[in-house]
């Protein structure tokens, strides 16, 4: 994409973004709303860079939680999806159980994680993985089985073993489905990490938000939110990039 095309595509995004900031700043200046209710963009900006919060360590913690959650969800999700597509027996055993796990309100499990595992990065990773793994399982299983019957007949004609059909046909076929699910997982991993931090943490961007509740330091909460969304956007961008690189034939699937 050349610069001209990029400009044409993205200028409305930038324009809307700038307009929102301007409206926000004007609204705060003109109405004189109190800082703890709605901080001005400028004070949020200041809180992001110059405030008393040591953002580095919180960003570090939360980012690791999110990446860990994402990787766990991806690995476990793909493995379960392959198991389901591989064997009807495993599918019958696993699917109802997974649906049950998925219907559990994950937020309600967080306190149990605190009891079982105490404070730390790992339980928050686990929470993110728990929220994000299910779409990966489903999309993996669907992508592995959505192969034309004629294509499978072709495999049978050449007497190809089951693993070879998986490696050469089913898995590449599932790749766009998996990458599509991973975009959802990227977002879910962020939610999970923050939920985990809300319930039990001593560090992290979620922890920062919880502490601002008592101090009424709303601009810090806003700053933390923006940091979270930056991490989330970066992870999402990485997944989109991987989709471009690994499954260029499936462009426009989602």
């Amino acid at each position: 994409m050349n610069i001209k095309a990029a400009t044409r595509q993205y200028w409305p995004t930038v324009a809307l973004f700038v307009a929102l900031i301007v409206v926000w700043q004007l609204a705060v200046s003109l109405t004189g709303v109190r800082e703890y209710l709605l901080p001005a963009p400028l004070s949020v900006w200041n809180a992001m860079w110059f405030g008393e919060i040591a953002w580095g360590q919180h960003l570090w913690t939360t980012t690791w939680e999110i990446i860990g959650a994402f990787v766990m969800a991806a690995v476990v999700g793909v493995a379960l999806g392959v198991a389901i597509a591989w064997s009807p027996l495993l599918a019958n055993a696993l699917v109802p159980f997974l649906v049950f796990v998925n219907t559990l309100p994950k937020v309600a499990i967080a306190p149990l994680f605190l009891i079982w595992m105490g404070y730390g990065i790992f339980p928050n990773m686990l929470m993110g993985a728990l929220i994000g793994f299910f779409p990966v399982v489903i999309n993996t299983a669907v992508g592995l089985s959505q192969v034309e019957a004629d294509m499978l007949d072709l495999g049978r004609v050449f007497n190809a073993p089951k693993w070879k059909i998986f490696v050469k046909i089913r898995i590449p076929n599932a790749l766009p489905y998996i990458l599509s699910a991973l975009k959802i997982t990227a977002t879910a991993a962020v939610v999970g990490a923050i939920v985990g931090e809300f319930v039990a943490s001593q560090k992290g961007l979620g922890y920062v938000i919880v502490t601002t509740q008592s101090s009424m330091n709303t601009s810090v909460a806003f700053a933390a939110l923006i940091w979270i969304s930056i991490v989330g956007l970066l992870l999402y961008g990485v997944v989109v990039l991987l989709a471009h690189l690994w499954a260029p034939w499936a462009e426009g699937v989602d």
């Binding site: 034309e148 004629d150 007949d153 072709l154 049978r156 190809a160 590449p172 076929n173 790749l175 034939w249």
Partner: protein, 266 residues
């Protein structure tokens, strides 16, 4: 006739549907000689595609015996090239890698087929498209690639299930000529033509291509007629305008529809 490569005796197929057993094929007896080009024509649902898959060993017959090259077919048979209505190329593989797929699936060394794959692509007019992805090719070109794939391991038998059914009329006629050309060229190479069993619902296509046209009737599918097409080879575009071609078309049309007059009701 040459020695039969395909020998079907009293083949029937019944499958269980929600409403009870459905008889798809009844009492099909048919032999196809080595090197013969035989088309199966019939209305939709007459079981011609099912019959093709029974010959390939992909579906079991429920009655009768199926023999290919003298051996009874009980499982998918090797040494067969299949072409389906859709090209079913793997979207993520280049055209060349798609053509090489049979070698990989059959557990053969793909490097030893590289030159043949290139030669087939050249013959099919796909020279220069080897490294393209399927989506970069037109439907007709994709189907030609799928034909190359079917020919990679040089099978003596080609089973084709409405291979040109999804193409527009002009591309379709071109492909018919192309197929005959490829079929003829391989003749020189092996000193033995490939045997082709070709399913279509186009009477003209069947007549143009075949040595024999087997007409099937619907539900349950049975053989209504078996006509020899004594038109000279190589078949040419001009042949389509000849009286003999028209007569054979009409004869098959009458057999298929049971109509004896040509009066249109439209």
């Amino acid at each position: 006739m040459a020695t039969p490569l395909i020998d079907l005796a009293g083949v029937g197929m019944t499958y269980e549907a929600a409403s009870g057993p459905v008889e798809a094929l009844a009492d099909i007896s048919l032999t196809v000689g080595t090197g013969e080009f035989v088309s199966l024509v019939g209305p939709s649902g007459c079981g011609k595609s099912t019959l093709l898959r029974i010959v390939a060993g992909l579906r079991p017959a429920t009655r009768g015996t199926v023999k290919v090259a003298g051996g009874e077919v009980t499982e998918p048979i090797p040494d067969v090239g299949m072409v389906f209505q859709a090209p079913i190329l793997l979207k993520w593989r280049s055209i060349l890698d798609n053509v090489l797929l049979p070698a990989e699936l059959a557990g053969k060394d793909r490097r030893s087929f590289w030159a043949r794959a290139q030669a087939l692509l050249e013959m099919a007019g796909l020279h220069g498209f080897a490294e393209k992805l399927p989506r970069e090719l037109s439907g007709g070109m994709q189907q030609r690639a799928s034909l190359c794939r079917a020919l990679l391991l040089d099978p003596p038998l080609l089973l084709m299930d409405e291979p040109f059914g999804a193409l527009d009329a002009m591309t379709r006629d071109d492909m018919a000529l192309e197929l005959l050309r490829i079929w003829g060229e391989l003749d020189l190479e092996r000193n033995q033509r490939k045997t082709v069993l070709f399913v279509t619902h186009s009477i003209a296509e069947a007549v143009f291509l075949s040595d024999r046209v087997v007409v099937m009737s619907a539900r349950p599918g049975r053989i209504a007629a078996d006509l020899r097409i004594d038109l000279p080879r190589p078949r040419t575009v001009e042949l389509r305008g000849s009286e003999a071609f028209g007569q054979l078309n009409l004869e098959i049309f009458r057999t298929l529809t049971g109509r004896t007059t040509g009066a249109s009701t439209q």
